[in-house]
């Protein structure tokens, strides 16, 4: 019976090809546009590491008052990190910055090339759950001993080592020889928590270098620096490291809430201690900030993305009204047909059921078309705008959502005509 009704529904839809073609196109395009914009917004506004909301914090230090600017709160200075890093409370610490380094192979078989690098402490990998293909991160001891070890991403591994397990292999960074200890798998994290200031939607850096090597190798910051006055010195790099300039996003993770509270006390003490030597002005805003407020503070979600979602929703509304008009027209045109069914003994309920089957069939067709347009839309976004690559994709929930939204739109658009048509008075139309 159901199959018969579906065939009947398809036949009825085919009877008005212009209207049905338009209905399917309109719903497919408008739902497609909505899902494209929504999925981008959805992935941009995602909160990674949400399960660590009570134990993972960004360290905010309020040091630079010279030129009023909020940006200085987003990063810490090198000397503050050095002062804070030996505390035992955090189980993981991630102080890192973006750099650009020259990568070369030992045997000279390839041209050297520059690549984005992240200079970071060992805690970054476990704190942000870096996926490893081979090997793993370096440990605290290796970092303390200034060992030249490196983690590379899978693209660099493909380029330098043909994709094989390269743990233990050597490569040149600048003039120094490094040993590969880990190869990262594809690492999608949106937004990229460890550096929201510089690379919230960036690709995984090509190489990761231990933070302890900063002074030895003079690794310079390629990200944002809030500059402060430097002391006169023969060694400008050292003067920079010792200055009040802030440039390092700094995260700490604790085993428990209690540890976090103890750390807060420690931080208050540190600020007081520094105030005694003339740093950190009174009334300053130094504290631990949890993930969500930190994301909000960095305004990583571009407000135009929300605007586009709203616009797409209005677009869908107009299309739905349009569709409603066309479906009503189609339905009203079938009063005579319905009257014949009624005269032949069909109940009102059967008429409603018939039309519901019809609209469900229509909804499924629209839904599938909408999934296709959504995927096309996202491909288009990816092809045109490289920096959306991390956020432009559909997951299962969004995929199902697309179909459900299409069916609901069809149902709503058809509600009025169905009710109206089932009330048809056969006598009037059968004369």
């Amino acid at each position: 019976m159901l199959i018969f009704q579906i065939r009947l529904a398809l036949a009825s839809l085919r009877k008005t090809p212009l209207i049905m073609g338009l209905v399917v196109t309109m719903i497919a395009v408008s739902v497609g546009v909505l899902m494209t914009t929504f999925s981008i917004y959805h992935f941009m506004s995602a909160v990674p590491m949400a399960d660590k909301k009570d134990t993972l914090f960004a360290v905010q230090l309020d040091t630079l008052k010279e030129w009023p600017h909020e940006t200085h709160l987003k990063m810490v200075s090198y000397k503050d990190f050095q002062n804070l890093k030996d505390n035992e409370l955090p189980i993981n610490q991630s102080a890192s910055f973006l750099s650009r380094v020259l990568v070369d192979v030992l045997d000279g078989s390839q041209r050297p090339f520059y690549v984005d690098a992240r200079v970071s402490t060992s805690g970054l990998f476990s704190m942000f759950r870096a996926p490893f293909k081979y090997g793993g991160g370096w440990d605290k001891a290796q970092e303390r001993d200034f060992q030249k070890v490196v983690v590379i991403n899978h693209e660099i591994n493909d380029k330098l080592f043909g994709g094989r397990n390269s743990v233990g292999e050597k490569l040149l960074i600048g003039d120094a020889t490094f040993e590969v200890v880990g190869v990262l798998d594809k690492w999608v994290m949106t937004p990229r928590l460890y550096d929201l200031k510089n690379t919230p939607f960036g690709e995984t850096e090509g190489v990761f270098i231990p933070f302890s090597l900063v002074e030895k190798l003079k690794l310079t910051n390629a990200g944002n620096t809030q500059e402060a006055q430097l002391a006169e010195s023969d060694d400008p790099f050292k003067a920079f490291l010792n200055s009040e300039s802030v440039w390092i996003p700094y995260w700490v993770e604790f085993a428990s809430k209690a540890d976090a509270d103890s750390y807060r006390q420690f931080l208050t003490g540190y600020v007081a201690e520094q105030q005694a030597v003339g740093r950190f002005e009174p009334g300053n805003d130094s504290r631990l900030v949890a993930i969500e407020p930190w994301l909000a503070f960095h305004e990583v979600v571009n407000e135009t993305n929300l605007l586009l979602v709203g616009l797409a929703a209005m677009f869908l509304l107009v299309c739905a009204i349009n569709v409603m008009g066309m479906l009503s027209a189609k339905s009203f045109g079938r009063f005579k047909e319905f009257s014949i069914y009624r005269a032949l003994g069909a109940s009102k309920a059967l008429l409603v059921k018939m039309q519901l089957v019809e609209v469900l069939v229509l909804g499924v067709i629209c839904g599938i078309s909408a999934v296709i347009t959504s995927l096309l839309g996202l491909e288009l976004v990816k092809a045109k705008f490289a920096h959306y690559e991390q956020v432009a994709h559909l997951n299962m929930a969004l995929l199902l959502g697309t179909i459900v939204v299409s069916i609901i739109v069809c149902l709503l658009a058809y509600l009025y005509p169905v009710l109206k048509a089932s009330q048809v008075q056969p006598v009037r139309y059968l004369k």
Partner: protein
């Protein structure tokens, strides 16, 4: 025949359908008007003059591999080679490429009895005496740097200079610091040392298109010595693309122990500056166009369907002496009435939607120029959408039309 009462009584028989059409027109009108206005504002923002000859310029970034690199000699060698290459008109070494995303952003602080203290941030680029020609900027008052004024600094340690440094500033920045337009010749403190304004640049853009200070730019006389060097090369416009490949090879030929990390037209930086804007503009235009198309197609489909149901009525009217023209004009008139009501309702929606956008997003108030344009476009396309089905119906022979059910 063109009586409003006739239309009204016809409408009474299909209230729901007409209501839907009116709501649809009103919403479409509100959305498309706002979208058009936002797109136009985006377009205006994107087409602000850069002040520079970006389409004739090549930007080159070269990074030396060796750590004991003699930057001074290498820069002189590179520039000599570049300048002697046929097709090159001028070449300069700069601290960063203007329109690229990085630049120094010091505070300039003018202190005078007349204006009090005025702080204004802007972009500063270190440049040599050839930069004005290479960039293609206009110095509208004062003078360019001369060779003696160009100092050398280490890139890693440069935070400013001692003494009073001559600078060129854009008229825009000059006016912020000295509102009466008497910036030329003034000396004042900045977060990178004392400066004196020796020349005024007509227009020049800096590093972040979204920042209000995008056109607050100054040139500071100097060359930064370091492994990373930024060259800007002015070429004969039609030879630029060929020169990009040629210079790339020649630079490697001169010194192999370097990496040319980037060599491209300066206009490509402009494209990256406006990548988000152009994404938004494209999305808005696509959605707006599809919306308009759908609205018109919807009217077309509805009219076609409705008229096909009224074939019999039309036949009777024709038999009673109505001309084809009268039938067609009736439907056109009916459409006009409905469209007008829809547009009037839409007008209030245009304003409220715009107010919502202005309060919640960083969007300027609607430019009313586009509203009547959108309305006119809507009316005309709506009439066209009605015209064809109406003509088709009117052309059917009356006898057959009456027999139709």
């Amino acid at each position: 025949m063109l009586d409003i009462r006739l239309v009204l009584s016809a409408i009474r028989y299909s209230k729901a359908a007409v209501f839907l059409v009116i709501v649809q027109i009103a919403l479409t009108f509100a959305i498309v008007s706002n979208v058009t206005s936002i797109s136009a504002q985006l377009w205006q923002k994107m087409s602000r003059p850069t002040g520079m000859a970006v389409f004739s310029n090549i930007a080159i970034e070269s990074v030396a591999i060796e750590s004991n690199f003699n930057a001074k000699n290498a820069i002189a060698e590179d520039l000599a080679m570049i300048r002697s290459t046929p097709g090159v008109e001028s070449a300069s070494v700069l601290s960063e490429i203007p329109l690229g995303a990085s630049a120094m952003v010091p505070v300039f602080r003018s202190e005078s009895e007349k204006y009090g203290t005025i702080d204004a941030r802007g972009y500063v680029y270190l440049a040599d005496q050839y930069a004005v020609d290479t960039l293609g900027i206009n110095v509208i008052a004062g003078r360019n740097f001369n060779a003696e004024e160009i100092q050398e600094f280490e890139r890693v340690s440069f935070r400013g200079a001692h003494g009073v440094n001559p600078v060129l500033v854009t008229e825009q920045w000059g006016k912020m610091l000295f509102p009466d337009g008497d910036a030329l010749g003034q000396s004042f403190r900045t977060s990178m040392g004392m400066v004196k304004i020796i020349g005024i640049i007509e227009v020049m853009q800096g590093a972040w298109a979204d920042w209000e200070g995008f056109d607050r730019v100054a040139l500071f006389p100097g060359i930064l010595l370091g492994n990373r060097v930024e060259y800007l090369v002015r070429t004969e416009a039609n030879r630029r693309d060929a020169l990009i490949g040629e210079l790339d090879q020649k630079l490697y030929g001169l010194n192999d122990r370097r990496v040319i990390t980037s060599i491209k037209g300066q206009d490509e930086f402009l494209d990256s500056q406006y990548q988000n804007h152009s994404a938004l503009l494209t999305s808005l235009m696509v959605v707006g166009l599809i919306l308009m198309t759908f609205a018109v197609l919807g009217i077309y489909a509805l009219t076609k369907f409705n008229i096909s149901r009224q074939t019999r009525g039309i036949g009777i009217k024709r038999a009673l002496g109505a001309t084809k023209g009268m039938i067609v004009s009736y439907y056109l008139f009916e459409n006009m009435v409905i469209a007008t009501v829809g547009l009037l309702v839409g007008l209030s929606l245009v304003t409220s939607l715009n107010q919502y956008l202005v309060t919640n997003y960083d969007i300027a108030t609607i430019d009313w120029v586009y509203v009547p344009l959108v309305a006119a476009f809507y009316v005309v396309t709506g009439l066209i959408a009605v015209y064809f089905p109406a003509v088709k119906a009117a052309n059917a022979p009356a006898v057959e039309a009456i027999r139709a059910s």
